[in-house]
Amino acid sequence: MFEPEVVYDSRRVIPPADHARPTTERPWVRRLLIAIAIAFMALVLVLPLVLVFTEAFRKGADAYFASFSDRQSQQAIYLTLLVAAIAVPLNLVFGVAAAWCVAKYEFWGKSFLTTLIDLPFSVSPVVSGMVYVLLFGAQSALHPLLKAYNIEIIFAVPGIVLATIFVTFPFIARELIPLMQDQGNTDEEAALSLGATGWQTFARVTLPNIKWGLLYGVLLCNARAMGEFGAVSVVSGHIRGKTTTMPLDIEILYNEYNFTAAFAVASLLALLALVTLVFKTILEFRFGDELAGTRRH
């Protein structure tokens, strides 16, 4: 007699779960992972953001907008914009120059320079602030010289700008280096061989090739420049109406139990973050391949 059980039937229908690609998880694992991720994000990202706005509007829209008519808060907003307006363009120039050097040339000490560019990321902002205080503060060797020429750096706007530049330096360079390395030199060589000068090559070939990556870096740099607290806090001296930026102003207001005003200013920073996020997403969606390779932040 036949014993069909022992005959291997190659047409046996294999359940789809066994068919699934080796890199695909089972549905319940997938759902669990997604749930954990969403719960975590809601708890640490969305909830605080919502809280900022509810606190800001707790006493109504009038109280919210009244917070901005406070002279000191206006000054803080102004100073923040000023610092960003100085720091971001400078870092734009530094960042492009540094990326250009690292990506297009071979030279001695290149890997050291690359590490140096990353330094602000690895050093605590408070420490970078302290360095400037030690360098230009009342105890430093430079102080008498600065004093003689009446130059104030620490507890004044120049110190805040310097600290901000330091902290935000890597954003643009880091965005551009992999992108420019990826693109190589041949476009530039082609332009040069066609008779273009170095400047024409940069303006007409290199810059268009990196423009979206550059804009992306500028966005990140700007967001950080406006939001920087640690380094600025050390060098600013918290002189209200003179050397407080928005993050410092928020802290002062909060410590004075002026919650509505504190959260109102905070909501501005949060809005800035959201706008940055939207732009960043659009850029990634639209020009993902022209940012740093296929890398995403």
Binding site: E189, G195, V205, P208, N209
Partner: protein, 347 residues
């Protein structure tokens, strides 16, 4: 424009990429730099262009010493392997680029630039595609745009780095013929780099065969193919078979037997015999001295059958071509004599 490369040496971080290379390129000539990867052919091309500067030696354009001139001053048309088209510009803007970056004094008016770019677009048979971007073109079309862009600056010499390397076989053949036509029409001195010997043999007036940073041989396709000056050129250009032999009494010996081939007068002792697999005559066994071997493997190559023979128990097999209907099977004994051959001293 004559180009003279005079004992040029190029080192990359102390590794010599080119070793005292000298070469004369005649005006209007189409010349191929041919060699395996790492032979220094691209380095030589880039040195002529001014994209690299020589460690030692000079490069002359006509009578003028171009060695210390920058790439911009040399006015060369360079076509890159990966085309290097400007992706943010249209085809027309790509072709116009070289003219539009000229200083105001020598820059033609806008309408004139446009007219010349369109003319070149016509020359490379891409009329109507001037508004496209490079991403919207096929590989072959991009290569044509790259050539038109290089020609737009009225270069003194046209340099092409593996111009057809990234294209499929069909397009490559077409573009090859077409490049020859363009060269004949425009009369530019043209140097191109390739590792494809077939391409070099078909296209070039003269070949420069390079290996390990040195020029092995310079000559017309016929000279290089028929009279290779050394084992490297013989085995690199075209199909070849080789086997160790001994030279004595002006004759070539294999395994203690004369094989019926006279040897050049100057050679003596251990040597290597080179011949083309298709360039042999079959000999009836026993009728005169010949090479004899046993068929170890055979395969069909187009219209012929290529067999591998073990000659005199030698483990190095030699290949010869037989008519495809030759009855030879495994272990069949075949006697043959190369019709043309070269003997090079061993080592």
């Amino acid at each position: 424009m004559d180009i003279r490369v005079d004992t040029v040496r190029k080192e990359f971080s102390h590794y010599p990429a080119l070793n005292d290379v000298s070469l004369d390129i005649r005006s209007g000539e189409l010349i191929a730099l041919l060699g395996p990867s790492g032979s220094g052919k691209t380095t030589l091309l880039r040195l002529i262009a001014g994209l690299e500067m020589p460690t030692a030696g000079r490069i002359y354009f006509g009578d003028e010493d171009a060695s210390s001139k920058t790439v911009q001053e040399r006015n060369v048309g360079f076509v890159f392997q990966a085309y290097a088209l400007f992706r943010n510009m249209t085809v027309l803007d790509n072709i116009s680029f070289g003219l539009s970056v000229r200083p105001r004094a020598t820059r033609p008016p806008k309408a004139e630039i446009r007219r010349r770019a369109l003319e070149l677009l016509d020359l490379v048979q891409l009329t109507g595609l001037e508004k496209r971007y490079p991403q919207q073109l096929s590989g072959g079309q991009r290569q044509r745009v790259a050539l038109a862009r290089a020609l737009a600056i009225e270069p003194r010499v046209l340099l092409l780095d593996e111009p057809f390397g990234a294209l499929d076989a069909q397009v490559r053949k077409e573009l090859r013929k077409w490049l020859r036509e363009i060269h004949d029409r425009t009369g530019h001195t043209t140097v191109f780099v390739t590792h494809d010997q077939e391409e070099a043999l078909e296209l070039a007036d003269r070949l420069v065969v390079m290996s390990q940073g040195k020029i092995e041989q310079v000559g017309t396709p016929d000279e290089v193919y028929d009279k290779p000056n050394g084992p490297f050129v013989f085995s690199f250009i075209g199909e070849s078979s080789s086997m160790p032999v001994t030279v004595e009494n002006h004759e070539i010996w294999v395994g203690g037997r004369a094989i019926g081939l006279p040897a050049p007068h100057d050679a003596i002792g251990e040597a290597v015999l080179f011949f083309r697999p298709h360039d042999v005559e079959l000999v009836e066994d026993g009728s005169g001295a010949a090479l004899a071997g046993v068929v170890a493997a055979s395969r069909r190559v187009g219209g012929t059958r290529r067999v591998e023979l073990e000659v005199g128990g030698n483990p190095n097999r030699v290949e010869i071509d037989l008519p495809f209907d030759h009855p030879a099977g495994e272990k069949t004994r075949i006697a043959f004599r190369p019709k043309r051959w070269r003997v090079y001293p061993k080592g």
